[in-house]
């Protein structure tokens, strides 16, 4: 199980966090095409390597976090609040 160092709560078990994947920007709702929209909804790059994922400390402070994780080794090298909000 992952150990995630929440900026608010400190190191907590990964089971407290909800994984939300690598965020992709929401296309402009006024001009989007079905192809573009469905890419946004359903497609993931699924890289083997360093990714910046969005997580939520769902069973904790409920903060949204950006976590730099290596998908092959599960190493975590950075955890920060979404939007870089200072503490």
């Amino acid at each position: 199980m992952l150990l995630i160092d929440c900026p608010y709560c400190g190191p907590r078990n990964g089971s407290e966090f909800a994984w939300q994947g690598v965020p992709s920007p929401r296309p402009d709702p006024a001009s989007t095409t079905p192809l573009e929209w469905r890419r946004y909804l359903y497609e993931e790059d699924n890289l083997a390597g360093w990714v910046e994922e969005r997580w939520k400390h769902r069973s904790g402070c409920r903060a949204y976090l950006i976590i730099e994780r290596h998908t092959a080794t599960n190493e975590i090298r950075a955890v920060r609040l979404l939007g870089g909000t200072p503490l």
């Binding site: 990964g14 079905p34 939520k56 949204y64």
Partner: protein
């Protein structure tokens, strides 16, 4: 015939004790400290079980947890490792594979069978003809080696524990002990886990110098404040040093410890490897470690006349111990001088041993010391790739991650002093590294501050290298490689000849390494036999992918106690008192009915009823930008919702699929209350948070979960207004002052700060009363008391489900599924495509013309037939939909349904066929309105 020796120095048995027990129906006695198997061996028993496939007699071989021949049934517990489990008085034990009887010489029979029992015989033999499979199944079950689990539910409820050691040491031999001592002396919190019943590893059964070293280590360990868990095993290492420990010695049975270790020190020592030769499975052929354990721990003489085959110092030490115990050494075969054993002969045990050159020596004991397997499992689980070292004929650890270290025999060989100096350095370095771990950040604890700080600079580790060892794996004759699965050298060769050139496939085909020993004894020999059979170099043999669990773990211990949360409404004491029939609804336990749901329906339709709807999700929204959020998450229009009004809405995910529904009320300019379905509450709350955090952090909206803050009850029926007028203060309840779909706040039954809204699921005039949770029971009881003369009754979920179906209201998740887009609910008027954006808008626009199925009300032509939910709906013989809800309507006296039908069968008046489970069919008609009852809604608005 007793094989118990006079007192041995270092023995672990209590000679003053006498423990009676039963084995295979006979009476035996052992001593405290004995294992089940050592007690049997002391009583002179040689044949302990029959082998899995060929039914060959088997005896003690490793005399420890891994002994493949010692799986016993103990009472109602199957698969007990009887060479490890300590004897207890009164134990009723038996061999799991004792057919045919252990005394019967079945050699001739099994040899006749063996041509049919080669690799893949299951696949080859039991495939055809298929109709015989039930017969095969019965035959195979007779052969299967398993024990008998108790049919009773578990008698214990295993506990779990979380632990946060800075350093966790796996293995309590001399190196593990020293690493633990040294880490603890540097201030680390240390957990030491060992599979044996006492710390000490091989020192326990070694010579007097070893026993002295062990006594010294135990003294230091006791002083070092290390948590020592014996008869316990580290069974897995997972991400970020999440380490699974099974504490078998816990008084309540097994206990699972989930440990988050700063640094994991792997110190399992080495596992002695058998040599494959003909007769290597006969009772009396034992590994050198087994001979020494039997002699030195349990004072059991394993034989009277021995041949010792030795490739290392352990063989010589075993020979010395045997001689010391009065066992005659008939031959000492020095493998390092090129001598070896060709075969062991005998029927139910070793009678003689044939050596190189054809010389045969009579003996009833053959002790082999032919090499080691490095149990690298925990390292493999940490991503380490061990490599095969041909010099020492074993695997050695590869490059290690920072938070995993290794010491002891798995790293290299040496004197006790060599091992201890390496382990001491590893312990110091582990303490240093763990000091930099996140888990240590919490060390603002005063006690932790008093401890010596770990060193700042990396600690240099002394060299510890494996010694050269002759490559002894496969003898000149075919012998057993996997003792628990009965796989021989010949079988591996045959598999290679059949084309299984990949070792991994050959293992699966022959089932080598698949049995209870899981490769610990046989993985190297299997790899070598396969390399030879396929003409490859032994040195290139790949490492096995060891996966957790390293040792068997009982499912009960993994499951532990039931810890699923259960939620009850604040009105639960009432429901319990009157004996309401409960129903599980997600996490909630709710009253399904209070005796007669149909009568509850009639009461609501004719007078008044009250239902507990406290699980309804309630979210308070405050802030300037709440209307923006509502416009985004609901499909309909919200910006004009007036203060004091309530509106219904549907929420869609961004793929246009219906996610939840409910009402939202506006209390004040910037204060709203949203309701969700009971099961959708947590998900909707999450989803709102996500929109605010990720897409619109600039919006001024604050959310508060209020579900548990209010007890909620819906007062429904023609007399509901009359009832509430007796209890409500500060709110005018007449239709003009308080119209349908409006909200008011006031006092109910003396309780202030309640809010009421006029709406309901039943289609009757109804008021939903939300009361601060602590006063819920008081208000509920007041409603029933004050309404007694009006005929007020409590009603449950079932009555509400019937009434909502009579009214044609759909339930998200019941009448919709993961593909139902908003148009399919038939509520297109609630989809406002004029809004610039809302969740699901794009998909709903693109799919408007073809939104798949349509929700319709359906009535069977035979009013007495209630088609079960999920029944198929046909047109001719074509599937056109399914029933999503169905009930007998007490109000209409006929069956009613909701169904999802394809668009071309959804027009009112269409007649379709419903296929019933008894294969009969009933015709049904699509209705004009979703509501079967009062489609105009005049009762609701009264």
């Amino acid at each position: 015939m007793t094989a118990r020796l006079p007192e041995r120095p270092g023995e672990v048995i209590d000679r003053s004790s006498s423990l009676p027990f039963r084995w295979n129906g006979g009476d035996y006695t052992g001593m405290a400290g004995d294992t089940i198997v050592s007690a049997l061996a002391a009583s002179g028993v040689r044949v302990l079980s029959r082998s899995f496939k060929y039914r060959r007699p088997r005896g003690v071989m490793t005399a420890d947890f891994n002994d493949p021949n010692c799986l016993f049934q103990v009472g109602d517990e199957p698969n007990v490792r009887a060479a490890h489990r300590l004897l207890e008085p009164g134990m009723d034990t038996s061999s799991q594979t004792s057919w045919p009887s252990l005394r019967f010489d079945a050699k001739a029979a099994t040899q006749a069978l063996s041509p049919f029992l080669g690799p893949g015989f299951y696949y080859k033999t039991f495939m055809r003809p298929r109709f015989l499979w039930p017969v095969y199944q019965r035959v195979l079950r007779t052969f299967a080696a398993g024990g008998k689990p108790s049919p009773q539910p578990g008698h214990s409820s295993p506990d779990k524990r979380y632990a946060h050691p800075d350093v966790l040491v796996a293995g309590g031999g001399p190196a593990g002990m020293m690493a633990a001592i040294s880490a603890a002396e540097r201030g680390a919190r240390v957990m030491l886990v060992d599979e044996q019943h006492e710390t000490g590893g091989y020192l326990r059964w070694s010579d007097s110098d070893g026993r002295l070293a062990l006594a010294d280590l135990r003294t230091r360990l006791a002083a070092a404040d290390v948590e020592v868990l014996t008869d316990s095993v580290v069974f897995g290492r997972y991400d970020h040093n999440w380490v699974g420990v099974m504490q078998r010695s816990h008084p309540q049975g097994e206990r699972l410890i989930k440990a988050r270790a700063g640094v994991l020190v792997v110190a399992p020592g080495l596992i002695e490897r058998p040599l494959a030769f003909e007769g290597n499975d006969l009772p009396g052929v034992v590994l050198s470690g087994a001979a020494r354990r039997l002699l030195n721990l349990y004072a059991v003489r394993p034989g009277t006349r021995a041949v010792v085959l030795s490739a290392n110092a352990e063989g010589a030490a075993a020979a010395a111990d045997l001689a010391d115990a009065g066992v005659e050494i008939a031959a000492f075969v020095d493998a390092r001088a090129g001598e070896t054993v060709v075969r062991a002969k005998g029927r139910t045990g070793v009678r003689s041993v044939e050596l190189t050159g054809g010389k045969t020596v009579e003996a009833d004991l053959l002790v082999t010391a032919t090499g080691w397997t490095a149990p690298t499992a925990l390292l493999n689980m940490a991503g380490v790739v061990p490599t095969f070292d041909p010099e020492s004929s074993r695997f050695v650890p590869g490059e290690m991650p920072d938070d995993v270290m290794a010491t002891g025999g798995i790293v290299g060989d040496g004197s006790v002093a060599d091992l201890l100096s390496h382990a001491a350095a590893v312990g110091q370095e582990a303490a240093r590294r763990s000091g930099h771990k996140a888990v240590h950040k919490a060390a603002a604890i005063p006690a932790a501050a008093a401890l010596a700080p770990p060193s700042k600079e990396p600690v240099e580790l002394p060299t510890l290298e494996p010694e050269p060892h002759p490559p002894l794996f496969i003898g000149s004759t075919s012998g057993f490689i996997d003792f628990s699965e009965d796989v021989t050298t010949k079988d591996i060769t045959a598999a290679a000849d059949e084309g299984y050139r990949s070792l991994e496939l050959a293992k699966r085909y022959t089932t080598a390494t698949m049995g209870p020993t899981q490769g610990k004894l046989e993985v190297i020999n299997a790899g070598v036999a396969h390399a030879i059979a396929t003409g490859r170099a032994i040195a290139g043999m790949g490492t096995t992918t060891w996966r957790p669990p390293y040792a068997p773990v009982s499912l009960g211990a993994l499951a532990g106690r039931m810890l699923e949360p259960v939620r009850h409404s604040p009105l639960q004491p009432y429901h319990e008192r009157v004996g309401a029939q409960p129903i599980v609804a997600g996490q909630w336990i709710r009253p399904n009915h209070y005796g007669d749901p149909a009568a509850e329906v009639t009461a609501v339709r004719s007078s008044v009823g009250v239902i507990d709807v406290s699980p309804l999700g309630k979210i308070e929204l405050r802030g300037r930008d709440v209307p923006k959020l509502l416009e985004l998450v609901y499909t309909n229009k919200w910006s004009k919702l007036a203060v004091g009004s309530v509106r219904y809405g549907i929420m869609c995910a961004e793929d246009g699929v219906v996610m939840d529904d409910g009402v939202t009320a506006r209390f004040a300019e910037d204060r709203y209350m949203m309701t969700t379905t009971s099961s959708g509450a947590a998900g909707v709350y999450d989803w709102l948070e996500e929109w605010l955090a990720t897409a619109h952090p600039d919006w001024d909206v604050r959310l508060t979960a209020m579900t548990d803050a209010y007890a909620s009850m819906n007062v429904a029926g023609p007399e509901s207004r009359a009832l509430l007028e007796r209890l409500v203060e500060g709110i005018e309840l007449d239709a003009e002052s308080f119209p349908h779909m409006h909200v008011r706040t006031g006092t109910v039954a003396g309780v202030a700060d309640c809010f009421l809204w006029r709406l309901g699921f039943t289609g009757e005039l109804s008021f939903e009363v939300h009361v601060p949770a602590g006063y819920g029971l008081h208000v509920w009881e007041a409603l029933l008391e004050q309404g007694a003369d009006l005929g007020a009754v409590p009603f449950g979920l079932e009555a509400q489900r019937i009434m909502r179906l009579e009214k044609g209201h759909f339930i998200v998740g019941q009448d919709t599924d993961g593909l139902t887009r908003a148009h399919s609910t038939g509520l297109s008027t609630l989809i406002n495509s004029d809004k610039p954006d809302f969740s699901g808008k794009q998909e709903l626009e693109w799919s408007e013309a073809d939104s798949g199925t349509m929700l319709v009300a359906l009535q069977p032509e035979d009013p007495a037939v209630v088609p079960p939910e999920a029944s198929q709906v046909l047109s001719g013989n074509t599937l056109v939909g399914r029933i999503t809800s169905s009930r007998m309507s007490p109000t209409l006296g006929r069956s009613i349904c909701l169904a999802q039908l394809t668009q071309d069968h959804a027009a009112p008046g269409t007649v379709v066929t419903v296929h019933l489970p008894d294969r009969t069919r009933v015709r049904a008609r699509v209705m004009e309105h979703h509501a079967h009852f009062d489609p105009e809604g005049s009762r609701l608005r009264g």
